[in-house]
């Protein structure tokens, strides 16, 4: 169960847009434990499920812009400026 905080809203389904590669997998508790270990992030027993659910929400979000085709010349600005 994700925490009750702010920016964790699941997006609504959005149509259109090409998908490059297959959609990202829904992360499991085991995925979270492996990723956390690789990062050196200790997890207390029983905490992986809630993190996995929050991460899954972020990856659902991510799918929305990962699948959106961008021109090759669009670069991530090193510092965001208008």
């Amino acid at each position: 169960m994700p925490e009750r905080g702010g920016d964790d809203e699941r997006p609504l389904p959005v149509g259109g847009g090409r998908c490059y590669g297959r959609p990202m997998d829904v992360p499991t508790e085991a995925d979270v434990e492996r990723l956390a270990a690789a990062l050196g992030l200790p997890l207390e027993p029983g905490s992986a499920a809630a993190i996995a659910e929050n991460l899954a929400g972020l990856l659902v979000y991510a799918q929305l812009f990962v699948e959106f085709p961008l021109p090759d010349d669009v670069e991530p600005p090193p510092v965001f400026r208008l």
Binding site: P2, E3, R4, G5, G6, D7, D8, E9, R10, P11, L12, V14, P27, V32, L35, A36, L39, G40, L41, P42, L43, E44, S47, A50, I51, A52, N54, L55, G57, L58, L59, Y61, A62, L64, F65, V66, F68, L70, P71, V74, E75, P76, P77, V79, F80, R81, L82
Partner: protein, 467 residues
């Protein structure tokens, strides 16, 4: 003589300059109000009475000797507790930072207000590390909405909005990453300005998500908001993201009206999934401004998604060391969201930043033909403290807290200036206020303040002290 809670910052300055009152009397009155109402609202986490009285006495001495006490002479203000205040520990809504040593000096925006003569009276409650829209802080307790104590003040600058709405101070500072000035300003019924990205220095502020963070003022009048903004805007070499563009004072042109400004209403995403009262507020503002044109911003849902991923990722890496060493000391409201953000692949984060560059260009195209866009601030009035995780809007289930930022997040994502104006008396909202966003082109805060001043003069928007 004593000065009432209903006096604006501008009114206080005038009263002090003509010696109708003293800064000490003003500040003493404010400290008394905080003592009487502050505990119930839980908006202050620290009151700086001794420092405030000493500063007030300094202002009075300047006035007594015929000196210039500054454009905000004797105006009491308070700041979200992520702003450094010299000699005070910056807790940023957390238990972990409460163990840090006191700050060496004031944050740039705090120093600027004090330099302008304003008197700092305390530090205000917030969501831990600014990660939330509600100020339901587990460590320090929830801040209560002055219009209904059972309801949220909004967040993450909830203390900043509640303190102003209740008349405890006429002015406060907050920060805004995805809506954290505008959401609480709307729910508490005050004016809140999120300036252009880079317009106000963030030096001395505990950042949440550095590429999205802004700081700005909240007030009960447009003139007060402009006075505060003019005091804090401008370049600062201590903040690498602060723009080199010189300050452009907005107060002198505040009463110019809106002649020549092209105003449009945001459609599409911004006309969906909100309670009728939120749309009624927009229509009321649009009618007053004679705005009949609608504009549509493309791909707003993807923009929100990218903003959320950038926020979670940058936020997690700001606190990674503490997440590794002492995760148990984080607020349960933020802990697992931060840890999930730490696990987002770098390729996804960079893709979000690339999408952001694309989206910024689409928004820029809209502002070639328009000067001010009108949109709701929140989709509904303040929910109850401890509200269920989801709620239903227009037949669709949404996340109660996250959806509060549905209309604010897309604009801050691309750094545009936004002013949330308060409206009350809307059918379906009861005594609770709502907000309407006025969005402008980069560095065009003056357009927003002029528009808000016109709405205020016509009585369309107002921020009376919560009873």
């Amino acid at each position: 003589m004593s000065v009432g809670a209903d006096l604006t910052a501008a009114g206080i300055v005038d009263a002090i300059r003509i010696r109708r009152t003293s800064a000490r009397d003003v500040v003493t009155g404010v400290l008394d109000r905080i003592a009487r109402r502050g505990r119930m609202l839980n908006c202050f986490t620290r009151v700086l009475a001794e420092i405030a009285i000493a500063d007030a006495d300094r202002i009075d001495r300047i006035v007594a000797t015929g000196g210039d006490p500054g454009p905000l002479a004797g105006v009491p203000f308070a700041v979200k507790n992520l702003f450094d205040v010299g000699g005070v520990t910056t807790v940023a809504g957390s238990r972990i930072h409460a163990e840090h040593p006191p700050a060496q000096r004031d944050a740039a925006a705090v120093a600027a207000l004090r330099h302008a003569g304003a008197v700092l009276v305390g530090c205000l409650n917030m969501d831990e590390y600014a990660f939330g829209f509600t100020t339901e802080n587990t460590h320090y307790g929830p801040t209560r909405n002055p219009h209904d104590l059972t309801r949220m003040a909004g967040g993450s600058s909830g203390g900043s909005a509640a303190a102003v709405a209740a008349g405890l101070v006429p002015l406060s500072l907050g920060s805004d990453t995805n809506g954290s000035i505008r959401v609480p300003a709307a729910l508490c019924g005050v004016f809140g300005l999120k300036p252009t990205f880079g317009r106000v220095s963030r030096a001395g502020v505990v950042l949440f998500a550095g590429s999205l963070d802004h700081v700005g003022p909240l007030a009960r009048s447009v003139r007060d908001l402009a006075l505060a903004f003019d005091a804090i805007q401008g370049p600062d070499g201590a903040d690498p993201d602060c723009d080199a563009r010189p300050a452009e004072p907005t107060t002198p042109g505040l009463d110019q009206g809106i002649a020549g400004l092209r105003v449009a209403v945001a459609g599409g995403h911004f006309a969906q999934l909100a309670e009728p009262a939120a749309f009624a507020a927009v229509e009321r503002v649009a009618r007053a401004l004679g705005a009949s044109r609608r504009v549509t911003i493309p791909e707003v849902q993807r923009a929100r998604a990218a903003a959320s991923v950038i926020t979670s990722t940058e936020g997690a890496f700001n606190h990674l060391d503490d997440l590794k060493r002492r995760a148990k000391d984080f607020d349960p409201m933020t802990r697992d969201r931060f840890r999930a953000g730490a696990l987002v692949p770098a390729a996804v984060y960079l893709r979000a930043q690339r999408f952001r560059a694309w989206f910024a260009e689409r928004v820029r195209e809209v502002f070639r033909d328009v000067d001010v866009v009108v949109a709701p601030t929140t989709p509904y009035p303040a929910p109850p403290i401890g509200a269920p995780r989801t709620t239903t809007v227009d037949g669709v289930e949404v996340v109660t807290r996250g959806h509060l930022g549905a209309f604010t997040q897309p604009w801050s994502f691309v750094g545009l200036p936004v002013l949330s104006v308060p409206i009350a008396g809307l059918a379906g909202a009861g005594p609770l206020p709502l907000g309407v966003q006025l969005i402008g082109a980069p560095f065009m805060e003056a357009h927003l303040l002029r528009t808000a001043a016109r709405l205020e003069a016509e009585g369309v928007v107002a921020a009376p002290i919560a009873p």
